[in-house]
Symmetry: C2
Subunit: 661 residues, 2 copies
């Protein structure tokens, strides 16, 4: 027997609740949290329930009522209005007043003597009255007189039908025996950019205007107006630190390094410094600070690469050999994937007994760059460092800098990717890069946006990266780049490209592999950014469509539409209030025209199936009048492989033709 | 940072785990518990995992290895061997020795210098050696010499391929940095009858041999040989306590009680006593003790009805008015479902401030009857009493009397029924009584046997009860009773009938309702048990088939078979080792012959699709030779509406025709 023996209400099967409440769900400021639970009691009495919520650390709960859905399930919701973590909980109670309200009418209608029942109801009103003050108390006193007057049951029953009466009593519910859900569940609230961001990756060292020269931060500054014009808001730089000289890799990942080969930026550390230093050829710290500032002036933010690994000549190797794995011959263990050896990289050993010092140092790297104005980190291979470290480090950073954003670059097994998201990463790379059939997209996006994963894993879709030039981009031409861009930018509210390789439609791969030939990872490039056929204007258009249409600034609002052609993919996205409705249609065949009849969920979209409505293709700027659920679409990939329609539902006034504008 | 910072392995998504481990799963003695979990670490090192289990209260864990399935999922199992609750947990660790084993071979095969790697391996062997004693230690010392001999890498690699070497090192794994799942999960272990039982419900007061007389326990004793012959093992009696006299109900639930009307046994309590007393006309306490003893001698057990409610003249009403709800006019609240009133019943008020005393008294009723030799309770309407009470009461009773079995008679909403099972009820009534189409059975049984529900909810299927004469039994004739019996007795390992109304195929209902006309609940019956057309021998046959065939003694081993006729239902049940395979085919149409081709999952059944096999109909005793997955069946409901085949797969020796026997 515990003290809750009289509490008759059960609360269970709460959604969302990640791993029994071990991990928070994620939202950005302004988003809604919808909570469902099974709430029920024994017997036949009425049950009421409230959703409780507050900012983490606040004492007082806010409440919103939970509405009955069916089968003992209830639903409530609240909005996270501030950049603060929130918690929520549920309370349920046997609602004797509600039970009485229902019963008294049935008995009265059956012509029974209800005088004792009225006295029972009066007691409920009295309970409320005793809690109320001022005008409410006075009003409840009047109600009490009416309900307790057994001489006039008609008046009492009439009162029981008055919403004013009912609502006032409800304002002071008797919750003395209410049940509280045992766990308080957390919401990790991020700023809006965690959900809606457009990334552009660029190697600063390849930004020099003159061929043969090493690019600098200054050179990159000169490109900011154009990157900004294209509509990106995150400028992500591969590591900017000194590059190892020992066992440095040559062109095409060769173990032989020719004189002048710059090495891979991910081989971090040399006698010139480590993770808190800047590669001297890129510029000084002041140059970097200037870049950060200029980037902001262009409406962009810098994202740095956080790659926790060291070259043999990284200062840590000398200063902290205990942070690495030592081999019996006295050497330090290099990275390997037997029989392959990566002797230019020493992984950190998270099993070291000096793990606390190691963790503190790794965290201090993040704080160092946050102090320089960087708030976004693209984390390299987080799945090869321990989960416990990330949970601690990101948790601590979010406490201090709630605007910090960490993107997990874990191209690995699904459960590992999801785990990294649960423990705090704000965004994650995905399998999008390799998915390329209609069914693959439907399956994968359904997993991402309809399963519990949606609550904590925010996808960031990349058609290409310096590591990955997928087969379809190698073989299917410029129109495939357009198609992949539209898919990335409209399926996911976070997306990014590695440029200018993307907008220049670079297709040459290492034979038989999905890697760039003469990859920028191992050499300095000099791009002809305005080469004919480049996609800069197309990208600019797509990014503008994203900015103008709030429906594209969310990911989980995705619904696929039926279209009876395996080479045509279609989906809708809407804002909550349906003020913005986007319909995307993509021809998945990069070589031939495809067509089909797309079926739109008109009822869900609030569109009258008997009235014409207008769809406006935001890419080509053409407009069509459609009617009913099923409408014809046709796409020639050699012109443009996709429609992004804004859907304008019929306005209420018959005479109002604004929707044709 | 907590002390587990170096522990790299994650354990999550454990199955089974009911409501975050709040409730135990259920098993009977001898059953297997299969446990799955996602177990993985960061990076690319090998991971190993163990399933830990022990009797609750034991200090030392037993272990069994968890095998890798796919996608980071692992599975292990153990058997609950004793009538004791068990707990289980999971441990996982980075397995450096296993990683080394895989790597060393790859490097050796690639012709690399592995001398340093051998020293690394030798360190792993040394770690094992330092834990070992005696012969193992000596052997490991020898292995150590071989592995650490960098002069002879061939010998070391040859050793790495020796299972004897590998297994000996594995016997002393380095688990210093292993991760333990945070929760210990519980198994409620019951005796076998909780899973396999055949119930027969009978009103003792209707057992008198002479018409017009009130039956007694002695009269019931005389029927025990026949009930036993029919193959039942639980004899369930409606309440045996004094019946209320105030507001007693007459025939057909009439509010007018004629002189001589015996009242409903569920209206418990009068001046003759309450829940610990015996209705005087049934006999004395000694008579009851004699009945309990005789019942056991016939291989049966008595199940009593536990109906926690009182009549107005129950002793509790006078002695403990505080346990009831008091109305403002000083009267006690009777049961009602407005506008209906049940003035012969006073429900207990579980919101009373004296709830602790009430709970203790209610528990003492159970202990009183356990002390008299009763171990099985059919609990009336448990959903109208608080969940907290049941959890406490059943928990306490199971601690003291682990053989106690409580059957929940909650015909209510699904989540309430499942909750009662979670909090301890060993068996539960179900919706079987009303399910009657092929698809309804497939859907419902799939929910019961393939979802998480299977872990804690043990169905008990009843074709009829004194409260329910379903429509199909009213209209579809004797063959429908046979069909419902076969379905109940073969779909669920727990089943029961309310007799002799069932075996006499009583079909007369209150017009328009699913209730017996002239129900035995309100009057004494004198049954002609051997009336022509009775199903006693058919029932005897079915119960014998259940006893002879272990596959029918489980419920969750059910798999439906395809059969392309909506009026034919077919399913298989097997024992774990396939020594007993049962195929059931039921004609769902009570009026016409139906036929179809049943598809058997031969591979799962271990049957060679290219060899003939024999099916033996255990109802009609006919045998058929079948071959391949698809075989023809035909059933005339007017003869017998079902086949229960025992399937005899082809024996190994071509010349061995035992399977035709």
């Amino acid at each position: 027997m515990n003290k809750y023996g009289r509490n008759r209400v059960v609360i269970e099967n709460v959604y969302p609740e990640i791993d029994c409440g071990q991990y928070p769900i994620k939202r950005v400021v302004g988003e809604t949290v919808v909570v469902e639970a099974d709430v029920f009691g024994d017997g036949h009495d009425s049950v009421s329930a409230s959703l409780l919520y507050k900012k983490a650390g606040d004492r007082k709960w806010n409440e919103s009522p939970m509405e009955f859905i069916k089968n003992d399930r209830r639903r409530g919701e609240f909005i996270v209005e501030e950049l603060s973590d929130y918690v929520y909980c549920i309370e349920g109670w046997i609602d004797h007043f509600k039970t009485w309200l229902g019963d008294i009418k049935k008995k009265y209608d059956a012509g029974q003597d209800i005088s004792v029942d009225l006295l029972i109801g009066a007691k409920e009103v009295e309970l409320a009255m005793n809690k109320a003050k001022g005008g409410d108390r006075k009003k409840l006193q009047e109600y009490y007189e009416i309900v307790s007057n057994t001489e006039d049951p008609d008046a009492a029953v009439a009162l029981a039908n008055e919403p004013e009466f009912v609502n006032l009593v409800y304002r002071y519910p008797d919750r003395s025996l209410s049940s509280r859900y045992a766990k308080e569940l957390a919401v990790q609230v991020d700023r809006k950019k965690a959900l809606f961001s457009s990334w552009y990756e660029r190697f600063p060292r390849s930004c020099a205007p003159e061929t043969g020269k090493h690019g600098t931060f200054k050179d990159l500054e000169a490109l900011l107006p154009e990157i900004s014009r294209m509509g990106f808001d995150v400028l992500y730089l591969p590591p900017i630190h000194p590059i190892g000289k020992i066992n440095r890799k040559g062109k095409n990942n060769s173990v032989v390094c020719e004189p002048g080969d710059p090495g891979s930026p991910w081989a971090i550390g040399s006698d010139e410094g480590g993770h808190k230093s800047i590669h001297p050829e890129l510029g000084s710290m002041d140059d970097f600070l200037s870049l950060v500032k200029k980037t902001q002036e262009h409406g962009l933010e810098i994202a740095l690469d956080l790659a926790y690994q060291c070259t043999p000549d990284h200062p840590y190797v000398k200063e902290h050999p205990e942070w690495f794995k030592n081999r019996p011959d006295g050497s330090i263990q290099y990275a390997e994937n037997p029989p392959k050896k990566y002797q230019d990289i020493y992984p950190l050993n998270f099993e070291t007994e000096q793990w606390k010092e190691l963790w503190e140092e790794l965290k201090s790297i993040v704080e160092f760059w946050i102090d320089k104005g960087v708030k976004i980190f693209r984390v390299d291979n987080p799945h090869t460092k321990t989960f416990a470290f990330w949970e601690w480090m990101i948790g601590d950073m979010r406490d201090k800098y709630p605007e910090a954003i960490f993107l997990s670059e874990a191209f690995t097994r699904p459960k590992v990717m999801y785990k990294l998201a649960k423990i705090g990463f704000n965004q994650s790379y995905t399998y999008f890069t390799w998915r390329n059939t209609k069914q693959e997209f439907i399956d994968y996006l359904t997993e991402l946006t309809k399963s519990e994963v949606r609550e904590y894993f925010r996808p960031n879709f990349w058609p290409n990266t310096p590591d990955i030039l997928p087969q379809h981009l190698q073989f299917d031409g410029r129109q495939e780049f357009m198609k992949r861009l539209v898919l990335a930018a409209t399926l996911s509210s976070n997306y990014g490209i590695y440029g200018p390789a993307f907008e220049l439609c670079i297709q040459e791969a290492v034979p038989g592999k999905e890697e760039y030939y003469y990859s920028e990872k191992y050499e300095i490039k000099h791009w002809d950014w305005d080469a004919p056929g480049n996609l800069k204007d197309f990208i600019t258009r797509i990014n503008k469509i994203r900015k103008d249409n709030p429906a594209l600034q969310f990911t989980n609002n995705l619904d696929f539409c039926e279209i009876e052609n395996d080479l045509m993919l279609s989906y809708v996205k809407t804002t909550n209030g349906l003020s913005n409705i986007i319909l995307v249609v993509v021809n998945m065949d990069p070589h031939h025209t495809q067509s089909g009849f797309v079926q739109m969920p008109l009822e869900k979209l609030g569109i009258d199936p008997d009235q014409p409505f207008m769809v406006h293709d935001l890419i080509g700027d053409s407009k069509y009048i459609w009617k009913g659920e099923t409408n014809y679409v046709e796409l020639n990939p050699h012109i443009v492989p996709a429609h992004i329609f804004r859907v304008h539902g019929r306005l209420k006034k018959e005479t109002d033709f604004d929707y044709f504008m």
